[in-house]
């Protein structure tokens, strides 16, 4: 199972705080050695200020050992520094606790007028904002994500987007929102951040590429949890060339998520063709059961291969943090895809064979097909004596072809004629006006 696990590849593009949910998930699945995972967590924590959590894990890992003094000291230090930072920006914190002020602030659109208002009425200094930024970061590092979101929200209200920390603030905000699982605002922040990255001209293409890669990974949290995420992920990953490029060059493993998103999104079948192209192009750098499933089905038309891959897909999905939620949907849709393709090619299929290809038993399969026919998704009939499904497709007759071809002709010609007439009229009018003047 570990073969298809992407956590280690994803981890390098995620914030250390964002890795925790992944690790938690892994330990629940028990793919890896529990102690190794704990050690990994501890290593990650060592650079944050979440001392309490570190102590907990340490206890789990070495139940017999005492908690070392250094950690306790560290805790005291962290608390002290937090106080110090809070003192620095106490005026702002006071401001923020004042509901009235916050309300008026939200009504003001322009950061400049806001700034004037604050400095005039509330003894506010712009220099304090740096401290605010540090405090938010510190809070985040301590694990107080919700607090840090509100601080950063305030920061973004006050400061213009040209501020040097603005990008970092955006990232911080997104991370905090993800970690408090506030998906609506997270999506908003994600879009803001994307616009900022796309609109801003960073120093080099390389940096831009890096930023986009990070954004792609972080957005997975949002897209697979938000209701609208399934459409958006296709829009962003597949139809924004910059992001598609980033995926191709930096992180082809993202194709797994993209492929899954396309498969479970029945409304976006048109995206399949583009996706298959990308998958084929990258097949030498990345392949996993899900991309292989698509390849078998849409490139080689190898239904047996697709079936066996579908089987593997299930285990992969089951062990993936992001995809576990859409496992059932995936299987259902994948089956439907196999069946649809099958129907397009075949005139007559035996139910037994079909059931075999769909990983179902024959009765179940028959039931499934009957349901499909009843829902009018399929023009077919079942021959129960022979156990066949007979497709009702009619070949295209020459008459139909002819009609299809000349269908639009008259409309187009009329439109053209109208255009020319209008033009002529306009010109003759011009002439008349011109003649009157003399």
């Amino acid at each position: 199972m570990a073969k298809f696990d992407l956590t280690s590849r994803m981890g390098q593009y995620l914030d250390r705080h964002l890795v925790f949910p992944l690790l938690e998930f892994l330990s629940a699945k028990q793919i890896y050695d529990e102690n190794e995972l704990l050690q990994g967590k501890l290593d990650i924590l060592s650079k944050t200020n979440m001392v309490d959590y570190a102590i907990d894990i340490r206890k789990q890992l070495y139940p017999l050992q005492e908690v070392p003094e250094s950690l306790k000291n560290r805790r005291a230090q962290v608390v002290a520094q937090l106080h110090e930072l809070q003192n620095e920006v106490s005026t702002i914190l006071k401001l923020m606790s004042n509901d009235e002020v916050m309300k008026t602030m939200e009504t003001m659109k322009d950061s400049k007028t806001l700034l004037n208002y604050l400095t005039k009425d509330y003894d506010f200094k712009i220099e304090l904002m740096d401290g605010m930024y540090r405090l938010a970061k510190y809070r985040y590092e301590c694990g107080n994500y919700s607090v840090s979101t509100s601080y950063l929200y305030f920061y973004m209200l006050v400061m213009p987007s040209t501020d040097k920390n603005f990008l970092n603030v955006l990232w911080g905000k997104l991370a905090s929102e993800i970690l408090v699982q506030n998906w609506d605002t997270a999506l908003e922040d994600l879009n803001k951040l994307r616009e900022f990255i796309d609109g801003n001209t960073f120093s080099s293409a390389l940096q831009l590429l890096q930023q986009r890669t990070w954004l792609i990974h972080w957005s997975l949290f949002v897209y697979f949890n938000h209701v609208k995420g399934r459409d958006l992920i296709i829009d962003m990953f597949l139809y924004r060339p910059h992001y598609l490029n980033a995926i191709q060059t930096m992180c082809p493993h993202i194709l797994r998520y993209l492929a899954t998103a396309v498969i479970i999104n029945r409304a976006r079948r048109s995206a399949l063709k583009d996706l298959v192209k990308v998958i084929q192009q990258e097949s030498y750098t990345y392949r996993d059961p899900i991309t292989e499933f698509l390849e078998h089905l849409y490139v080689n038309f190898d239904f047996d291969g697709a079936r066996s891959k579908l089987h593997e897909c299930q285990t992969v999905l089951y062990n993936d943090f992001f995809l576990i939620a859409c496992l059932d949907e995936f299987v259902e849709n994948a089956r439907l895809m196999i069946f649809e393709t099958f129907c397009r090619i075949h005139q007559c299929i035996s139910i037994g064979m079909l059931a075999d290809k769909l990983n179902m038993n024959p009765e179940e399969a028959e039931c499934w097909i009957v349901n499909l026919i009843r829902n009018a998704r399929l023009d077919a009939k079942i021959d129960s004596k022979l156990g066949h499904v007979v497709m009702g497709t009619q070949p295209l007759s020459p008459y139909q072809q002819l009609i299809e071809k000349i269908d639009s002709l008259s409309v187009r010609s009329e439109a053209l004629q109208a255009l020319i007439e209008r033009k002529l009229k306009a010109r003759s009018q011009d002439n008349r006006w011109g003649a009157q003047e003399f």
Binding site: L209, P395, L396, L409
Partner: protein, 886 residues
């Protein structure tokens, strides 16, 4: 005496015949029986003799030129030709076949003179006797014919007619003229007496001779100005005209006797002087060989005997010698000798490594200089010497730890005596020139001879030198220099196939072993990261792609090509880079073919093949000229760009791969669109081949590669895959083409599989309308394919709506749906197509009238070779990726 008159013409005036004697004096020495003369004769070598003959004749010609005595000139010229013929063996021996410069000069001057006279029609008619005119015409023709042989040299001379030399010479003449003005009378009178024989100088030691010469020229400098004034006062209007021309003018104007006389005198002096000089020059070559043996006597010349030899002195001497470099009069061989000696001295006195290195660099430079021509290669013995010297020097440089060699160090800042040594110089340029010379040498050899192989063995040495320089430069690590040397290394590496690479890919080699792909990777990545000039990077990328393609790393090669966006920008780069680009594309195509990516292979190669100028585009040979498409200079430049033979890409292989891929794409397409009115050609070249074979009334069994492919295409059209395969893969084709691939069997296997598949497709396209249903097992049997493969191919065709059919699973058959449209129906369909076209074009015309016209177009045409690249971008399935990953 009568001998003189035999050659000289009767129309000559007395004075001119007088003049004649002076120059011809040395030749006349044979007739004298003086003892003194006798001894002199012994000294003279054949070379001298021949040269003397030549120079005398040349002088004669000059004289006639001044008199416009065409008939005598004609005879002299003929004689000159003969004399030259005689002198040829000597020239070949002494000068390595390089035509002596004075001879070329004479030819050049004559040509100019004749064309001038010829142009001056009035003067010709008025002043010329019929006889003279006749001679002029024939002379002109003869000269023209003759000069063709020396065309190159003369054109070179024309570009660089060493004016300085000419002036100097003239100045000297003038000075002589002044100083000996008083003697002119006695001289003319006593012309029967031999003037001081120049060959006498031969006996005097070299050094003295040289000193004298120097003094003389120095004096002439002082005197020159006086004489210049004098002459300018005599004819003030012609002040600015070159001296030689002035003479001509005077004669044509037929000025007063006085002037004529004076001029004659001048001429005489000049000739005498020249003769002497030439003799000195001639002698130069000989003396040196002597000097090699007697190095000791010349040593004092370097340093005074009692002088204490230290660093400063040696460096001073070195700069003295080096200062003479590049001057016209400097003997290049002698310079090398001198430098060697200096090195010996320096080593004998233990002056430290820095001085030796400095001298060695000077030696290398002078060896480079030894070959005066830019376009020709140096002589092999010098080449070997050069290799050894450079190797020695580099070894030394590497041995000395605290040493910086850089161009930024000024002469004054050089440190020779104590450890952090600093030397002005550039190792890079040495390597660059070495590499250039190496390519030139290789190009000069016949690629099919042993000589070429022998020469090619030096490639190892050159590479070793490059490695050493790289090692040296890595110590200092100046990124721009490192980029240069890395690229140099890359360019020696990229076209070589390393058999280790496939082994490494299969994991046969132990981990950590370095193959050429790894080396390329590190070198190129460094260049990508550090290079600031776009050119180096472009070349590095291209070489990198080439190398990947060569080793079957198709995906890496493709991605690198796509990421670099070179297809869009390559037309703006310099021709050598474009050539490299073409070579890379060719190999990329071959690589795609080996990976069964037929479409990509076709797209890579189509631009190269379409023009029919593959040879030129890959710089593997010039096409024969058609109506002077290119001028002499252009041809020369193009010749310089040619690739040496061992880097060539096999053109037949290239063409075969292209044609076969075109066949695999085109034949099924043709079958599918047999009745389509709007069918378009995919590959023009392939069509041409097909058509030319169709035109033949009788088609015999295929012989050439092209005929094989055409025959195979015809077989495939009928769905006969085995015949097709036998035409493509047989002994003849194996020997010609396929065996050239690494892992040829794999390629053949791939190819036969593809032929089977495409033949199946063609078969279905062509014959589907006669079937109501076809059994898949039968098809599989027919085409010897797996049933699953057949299933997959047919499914694909159904999905893509190429085949109107569906599968019947229980019976394993393909059921055809398409009823063949009746004649009326198909006509109606065609009509609708045409009406559709009409509406389309109407709309387009309307848009055009609306003025949306400017969006179209763009400039067409452009540079002949570059047109292709524009098209390239469209064909190649472009995937824009931002930035570069490196």
């Amino acid at each position: 005496m009568s001998r003189f008159f035999a050659t000289g013409s009767d129309s000559e005036t007395e004075s001119s015949s007088e003049e004649e004697q002076a120059p011809r004096q040395p030749a006349a020495t044979f007739t004298f029986s003086d003892d003194e003369e006798e001894t002199k004769r012994v000294v003279r070598s054949t070379k001298e003799k021949r040269y003397e003959d030549l120079t005398n004749l040349i002088k004669q010609i000059r004289n006639f030129k001044k008199n416009k005595d065409m008939s005598s000139m004609l005879t002299s010229f003929e004689e000159l030709m003969r004399a030259y013929q005689k002198a040829l063996p000597v020239i070949a021996k002494e000068e390595n076949g390089v035509t002596p410069r004075f001879y070329i000069r004479c030819l050049f001057e004559m040509e100019e003179f004749i064309s001038e006279v010829w142009e001056d029609k009035d003067g010709r008619k008025k002043n010329m006797s019929k006889n003279n005119f006749k001679s002029l015409a024939s002379l002109r023709q003869k000269l023209r014919k003759y000069n063709k042989e020396f065309e190159e040299d003369i054109s070179k001379f024309r570009e660089n007619p060493d004016l300085a030399d000419e002036d100097e010479e003239e100045e000297k003449e003038e000075d002589e003229d002044d100083s000996e003005a008083e003697f002119s009378a006695p001289l003319t009178l006593g012309k029967t007496e031999a003037p001081p024989d120049p060959s006498k100088f031969l006996k005097t030691p070299v050094v003295q001779e040289r000193d004298e010469d120097d003094d003389g020229s120095e004096d002439s400098m002082d005197w020159g100005s006086d004489s210049d004034d004098e002459t300018s006062s005599s004819d003030d209007d012609n002040q600015n005209i070159a001296y030689r021309e002035r003479f001509l003018k005077k004669t044509t104007d037929k000025e007063e006797e006085e002037k004529k006389k004076k001029e004659k005198k001048e001429k005489k002096e000049k000739e005498k002087r020249k003769q002497r000089r030439e003799e000195e020059e001639d002698g130069g070559g000989e003396w040196e060989t002597v000097k090699g043996g007697v190095a000791i006597p010349s040593k004092p010349k370097m340093f005074a005997k009692d002088a204490e030899i230290d660093v400063g002195l040696v460096v001073k001497k070195l700069s003295e010698i080096v200062a003479a470099r590049g001057k016209k009069r400097t003997d290049r061989r002698e310079q090398i000798e001198l430098l060697h000696e200096l090195q010996a001295v320096a080593e004998a006195h233990n002056l430290g490594p820095a001085v030796t290195i400095k001298i060695k660099f000077a030696i290398i430079a002078s060896i480079f200089d030894y070959n005066p021509k830019v376009s020709d290669a140096m002589k092999p013995e010098y080449w070997e010497k050069l290799l050894d010297r450079i190797m020695e020097t580099l070894n030394m440089v590497l041995d000395v730890s605290e040493l910086t060699i850089s161009e930024q160090i000024l002469e004054e800042m050089e440190v020779f005596d104590k450890p952090p040594y600093k030397i002005r110089g550039c190792v890079l340029t040495v390597v660059d020139r070495l590499d250039e010379e190496f390519t030139k040498l290789l190009k000069e050899c016949d690629p099919h001879s042993n000589e070429y192989v022998e020469r090619l063995k030096d490639e190892k040495k050159v590479c070793a030198i490059i490695d050493k320089v790289q090692e040296h430069l890595e110590r200092n690590s100046v990124s721009s220099e490192l980029c240069c040397i890395y690229l140099r290394k890359v360019e020696h590496l990229y076209y070589k196939f390393d058999p280790e690479v496939p082994k490494q890919k299969q994991g046969l080699l132990p981990e950590g072993s370095v193959s050429s792909v790894n080396t390329m990777e590190t070198l190129c990545k460094y260049i990508y990261a550090k290079d600031s000039t776009d050119r180096l990077r472009t070349r590095a990328i291209l070489a990198h792609i080439y190398h990947h393609a060569l080793h079957d790393n198709w995906f890496q090669a493709r991605d690198l090509m796509l990421m670099s966006h070179l297809q869009e920008t390559i037309q703006h780069s310099d021709p050598p880079t474009q050539i490299l680009y073409n070579r890379t594309m060719a190999h990329l195509g071959l690589c795609a073919f080996r990976h069964a990516n037929i479409k990509d292979a076709h797209n890579c190669l189509v631009d190269l093949m379409m023009t029919g100028k593959v040879k030129e585009l890959l710089a593997q040979g010039l096409l024969p000229q058609r109506q002077h498409e290119r001028s002499k200079e252009q041809e020369k430049i193009e010749k310089q760009r040619q690739m040496p033979f061992h880097m060539h890409i096999n053109l037949e292989l290239l063409e075969c791969v292209y044609l076969v891929s075109a066949m695999l794409i085109e034949i099924p397409y043709m079958a599918a669109h047999e009745f389509d009115a709007r069918r378009r050609m995919i590959s023009k070249t392939f069509y041409q081949q097909l058509r030319s074979s169709e035109r033949q009334s009788l088609v015999g069994p295929p012989e050439s590669m092209r005929e094989h492919v055409v025959a195979a295409s015809k077989a495939m059209r009928n769905g006969n895959w085995s015949a097709c395969k036998n035409f493509i893969i047989n002994e003849k084709m194996n020997a010609k083409v396929w065996d050239l691939f690494y892992q040829a069997d794999r390629v053949r296997g791939m190819l036969s599989r593809l032929i089977q598949e495409e033949a199946l497709r063609t078969y279905l396209f062509t014959y589907s309308h006669v079937y109501d249903s076809i059994s898949m097992p039968t098809l599989a049997e027919m085409f010897e394919l797996d049933q699953s493969v057949v299933h997959s191919i047919i499914s694909k065709m159904i999905i893509n709506e190429e085949l109107m059919a569906s599968l019947d699973d229980p019976t394993q058959t393909v059921v055809m749906h398409r009823s063949e449209p009746s004649r009326l129906q198909s006509l109606a369909l065609q009509l609708t197509d045409k009406v559709n076209n009409l509406v389309d074009s109407n709309e387009r015309i309307f848009e055009m009238k609306q003025g949306n016209f400017f969006a179209r177009g763009g400039n067409q045409g452009g540079f002949r070779d570059r047109q292709n690249y524009n098209r390239q971008g469209q064909n190649w399935d472009r995937r824009a990726r931002e930035g570069r990953t490196y």
